[in-house]
């Protein structure tokens, strides 16, 4: 990994289109600004990973007991 030291207000360019700026530092928190093309999605890693993990769990529904699910959901239209 490339490691660079930056001061508040300084930036890093990645290629022509991506700029990462250090906005502020308070204690152990760093505010980072990211400018990038719209097509690049930018996420906080832990939140993105959480969604990814949940999707993986959700995709493994195949052993669900359909009978009890159907019983359970019978009343859903009336009372969620």
């Amino acid at each position: 990994m490339l490691v660079l030291t930056r001061k508040v207000g300084e930036s890093i360019n990645i290629g022509d289109n991506i700029k990462i700026s250090i906005m502020d530092v308070k204690g152990r928190s760093v505010r980072v600004g990211v400018e990038a093309p719209r097509s690049m999605s930018i996420h906080r890693e832990e939140i993105y990973s959480r969604i990814q993990d949940e999707n993986k769990l959700a995709s493994a529904w195949k052993n669900v007991d359909m009978g009890s699910l159907k019983n359970l959901m019978g009343g859903m239209g009336k009372k969620p």
């Binding site: 719209r38 999605s41 996420h43 906080r44 939140i47 993105y48 959480r50 969604i51 990814q52 993990d53 949940e54 999707n55 993986k56 769990l57 959700a58 995709s59 529904w61 195949k62 052993n63 669900v64 007991d65 359909m66 009890s68 699910l69 159907k70 359970l72 959901m73 019978g74 859903m76 239209g77 969620p80």
Partner: protein, 146 residues
């Protein structure tokens, strides 16, 4: 056209209803074509089935059925990605995680909703960063395990 599904075997679908998720579903970026199939008669679930991978399918539900005041600020860019011009064109679904043994404990991912533009046949799962919702919102909050 016919597609193969893990749950229903071969299923006839209308190719005009295939949704394109240009970025896939998060964690499964390689599959971009999905179709909604009925999941279980008499229940509000729909299966979001990958057209090109029989074993990839997500149980989804309309979040407003169990979380009436669900709301979030979608980013303009996300809406542009699926060509939403008016909010009324937007359909929102969330992915449900089914525990194997007790469906009462099912949870819905309210932090990663799926946005659909049915008219344009485009979809996108987005990530909510600053919100009160979690990936494990209980659909039946009163249900106890056991």
């Amino acid at each position: 056209m016919k597609i193969l599904t893990g749950r229903f075997g071969e299923v006839e679908i209308d190719p005009a209803r295939i949704l394109t998720f240009n970025e896939g579903i998060i964690g499964f970026h390689q599959y971009t074509r999905f179709v909604f199939l009925p999941f279980l008669e008499g229940t509000p679930f729909e299966l979001l089935q990958a057209v090109d991978q029989p074993d990839l399918a997500f149980v989804t539900i309309n979040p407003f059925l169990f979380c009436e005041d669900y709301q979030f600020d979608a980013e303009d860019g996300d809406l542009q990605d699926i060509q939403i011009k008016n909010k009324s064109d937007l359909m929102i679904r969330v992915i449900v995680t089914m525990p194997q043994d007790d469906p009462r404990l099912m949870t819905a991912n309210l932090q990663g909703p799926v946005l659909i533009n049915e008219a344009r046949l485009l979809g996108k799962q987005i990530v909510l960063h600053d919100c009160e919702y979690t990936t494990k919102h209980r659909v039946f909050p009163d249900a106890q395990a056991g």
